[in-house]
C-alpha cells in the first residue's frame, strides 16, 4: 500500500513533466518502450491512458509501467479507471468531469492514492480542491489535436487564474511543446502534461529532455 502523504510532499516536483500514454500516437511502439525513454529523458510522472482495448491487456501493460516508474521514483497514475488504478496499486488516479465524482472516488480509494482532476471551469477547480483533489489538470492550454472532446483553448490566463485560486499543484495540458512550455510554469503551474509532443516524437527521450530543459530554464532564469 502507498503512503500517500509522502507522495503529496513531493507532488509539486513530481508533476513537472507528466507524460500520458497513447497507443494510437506511439507509432507502433509499446507503452513500456515509450515510458522508459520518456523517463530517461526526464519525465517525472506517467499516466496510463487506456482508451481502447481490454482490461486484461491494460493490467499487463499497467504492471510493466508501474514497475518501470517505481524503479525510477516516477509517479504512476491511471486515467479514468479507479478499478484499474486499485488493481495496479498505482500512486494515483486521474478523473475527468464525466468520471465518478471526487467524493465517491475518495470514498473508494481513501488515502491509498492521489486523485487528480480535470475541472472544465475555474469554479470547478476551486470546488475540486474543496472536495479533496490532490492536483488539477488545466487545459487545453494551447488547443490540442489529441483529445477530440477537449474543447477550445483556455490559454495560460486560466493557468494563472487557477494557480492563484487554489493551493494544490496544477499542471497545464493541451498543445504543449518545448517551444511553448515556459509560459505555463511562469503562470504558476507545477509542470506540464503532454501526450503527442513526446509519445509521437521520433526520439522520445530527446523530446522529453528538451521539454525538461525548457521547464528548468523558465524556473531557474526568471529573476
Amino acid at each position: 500500500m502507498n503512503d500517500v502523504r509522502a507522495t503529496r510532499d513531493r507532488l509539486r516536483a513530481n508533476l513537472n513533466l507528466y507524460v500520458l500514454t497513447d497507443r494510437q500516437l506511439a507509432r507502433g511502439r509499446g507503452e513500456s518502450e515509450v515510458v522508459e525513454a520518456a523517463i530517461a529523458g526526464g519525465a517525472t510522472a506517467i499516466q496510463l491512458r487506456w482508451k481502447t482495448g481490454s482490461m486484461r491487456e491494460a493490467l499487463i501493460v499497467g504492471r510493466e509501467l508501474k514497475q518501470i516508474c517505481a524503479r525510477s521514483g516516477v509517479l504512476f497514475v491511471v486515467n479514468d479507471r479507479i478499478d484499474l488504478a486499485l488493481a495496479l496499486d498505482a500512486d494515483g488516479v486521474h478523473l475527468g468531469d464525466e468520471d465518478l465524482p471526487l467524493p465517491e472516488a475518495r470514498k473508494i480509494v481513501g488515502e491509498r492514492m492521489l486523485i487528480g482532476y480535470s475541472p472544465p471551469t475555474l469554479a470547478e477547480a476551486i470546488e475540486a480542491e474543496r472536495l479533496g483533489a490532490d492536483y488539477l489538470g488545466i487545459g487545453p492550454v494551447y488547443g490540442t489535436s489529441t483529445k477530440a472532446d477537449a474543447g477550445a483553448a483556455v490559454g495560460i490566463e486560466r493557468i494563472a487564474a487557477v494557480s492563484r485560486a487554489v493551493s494544490i499543484p496544477i499542471v497545464g495540458i493541451g498543445g504543449i511543446t518545448a517551444a511553448n512550455a515556459a509560459p505555463v510554469v511562469l503562470a504558476g503551474a507545477a509542470g506540464v502534461a503532454v501526450i503527442s509532443s513526446i509519445v509521437a516524437a521520433d526520439d522520445v527521450r530527446e523530446a522529453a529532455r528538451q521539454l525538461r530543459d525548457a521547464l528548468g530554464f523558465a524556473e531557474t532564469h526568471s529573476v
Partner: protein, 265 residues
C-alpha cells in the same frame, strides 16, 4: 538630486510619458529574504521595480512569493518576460501580465541561452513589434548593439536596455563604446541593464549619458543589500551629475593646471 546640487537642476527621467525622479531601477530576484529586498528598495530610492511573472501571486493568501510583502502603491511594477526563450513565449507572458491587470508595461527578455543569458536580437525585435502594435509599452533588454537599438526604437519601444555585461556577472562595462553609440543615436531613454557590479559601474554608465540603470544581483547578493543599494544610488547620482555638469574632453597630452599666460616674470 533635482534641487540638492548647487545650481544644477536635472530633468526627470521620462519613459512613455511617465515621470520618474529616480534613475535606479531594481529587480526582485536573488534576495535572501523580503526584509533585505524591501530595505534595498528603500535605500535605493527606487520608483520602478521589475518582477518576473512567476513571482507574482497577488491574490493567493498562501502565496510563497516574496513579493506579497511589497507595497505596490509605492513602486511602479515592471513585469518582465524572464524565463522565456522564444519571441512567442515572451508575447504570451506579456499578454498574461496585462490580462492579470498588472501592467501593460513589459520588460521584454527573449533569452535562449542559459550559460551567458544573452538576448536573442531577432526574437526580441519580432516580439517588440508585435507587442507595440498591441498597445504595450515595451522596454526591450538587448545586447549593446546600436543597429538593433535603432531598429527597436523605430518599431516604437519606450526604451532600449543594453547590457553592460552578462546578467548577474558583475563584470561592469568592459567596453562601453557600443553603448555610447546607442546613447548618441537614441530617441528614447537608454537604460543600462545587467552586469553592473559596483557603484563605479553605475557612475560610468551615467557619465557617458545613460538615462537610467537597472541593478539586481549586485545589490541582492551584496553582504549588505541596503548599504549597497545606497552606494549604488550615490554612484549613479554622481555619474548623472557629472554628465549634466559636462565632463572635460580627454586629451592626448597634459594640460597644465596652472597655465603660463599672464605669469609675472
Amino acid at each position: 538630486m533635482q534641487q540638492s546640487q548647487n545650481d544644477v537642476v536635472d530633468t526627470p527621467l521620462i519613459i512613455a510619458g511617465r515621470e520618474f525622479s529616480s534613475r535606479l531601477i531594481l529587480g526582485t530576484g536573488k534576495y535572501r529574504n523580503s526584509e533585505e529586498m524591501l530595505g534595498a528598495f528603500e535605500a535605493a530610492g527606487a520608483q520602478m521595480i521589475t518582477v518576473a511573472l512567476r513571482r507574482i501571486d497577488f491574490d493567493d493568501p498562501k502565496s510563497r512569493s516574496i513579493l506579497e510583502d511589497v507595497d505596490w502603491t509605492r513602486y511602479a511594477i515592471l513585469p518582465n518576460t524572464a524565463g522565456c526563450q522564444t519571441a512567442d513565449e515572451a508575447v504570451r507572458v506579456a499578454r498574461l501580465a496585462r490580462s492579470m491587470g498588472l501592467s501593460d508595461w513589459i520588460k521584454l527578455e527573449v533569452i535562449p541561452d542559459a550559460k551567458y543569458l544573452l538576448p536573442d536580437p531577432i526574437g526580441t525585435l519580432e516580439a517588440a513589434e508585435l507587442l507595440v502594435n498591441e498597445g504595450f509599452t515595451v522596454l526591450p533588454y538587448i545586447n549593446a548593439d546600436p543597429v538593433l537599438a535603432k531598429r527597436l526604437q523605430e518599431v516604437g519601444t519606450a526604451t532600449v536596455m543594453p547590457l553592460a555585461s552578462p546578467i548577474g556577472s558583475g563584470q561592469g562595462m568592459p567596453d562601453y563604446r557600443q553603448i555610447q553609440i546607442i546613447i548618441e543615436q537614441a530617441t528614447v531613454p537608454v537604460v543600462v541593464d545587467a552586469g553592473i557590479g559596483a557603484p563605479s559601474d553605475a557612475a560610468l554608465a551615467m557619465e557617458i549619458g545613460a538615462d537610467a540603470c537597472l541593478v539586481n544581483t549586485a545589490i541582492a547578493r551584496a553582504a549588505n543589500p541596503a548599504a549597497m543599494a545606497r552606494a549604488m544610488r550615490m554612484g549613479l547620482d554622481a555619474g548623472r551629475l557629472a554628465y549634466v555638469a559636462g565632463r572635460i574632453p580627454k586629451l592626448p597630452y597634459a594640460s597644465a593646471s596652472s597655465p603660463l599666460e599672464g605669469v609675472v616674470r
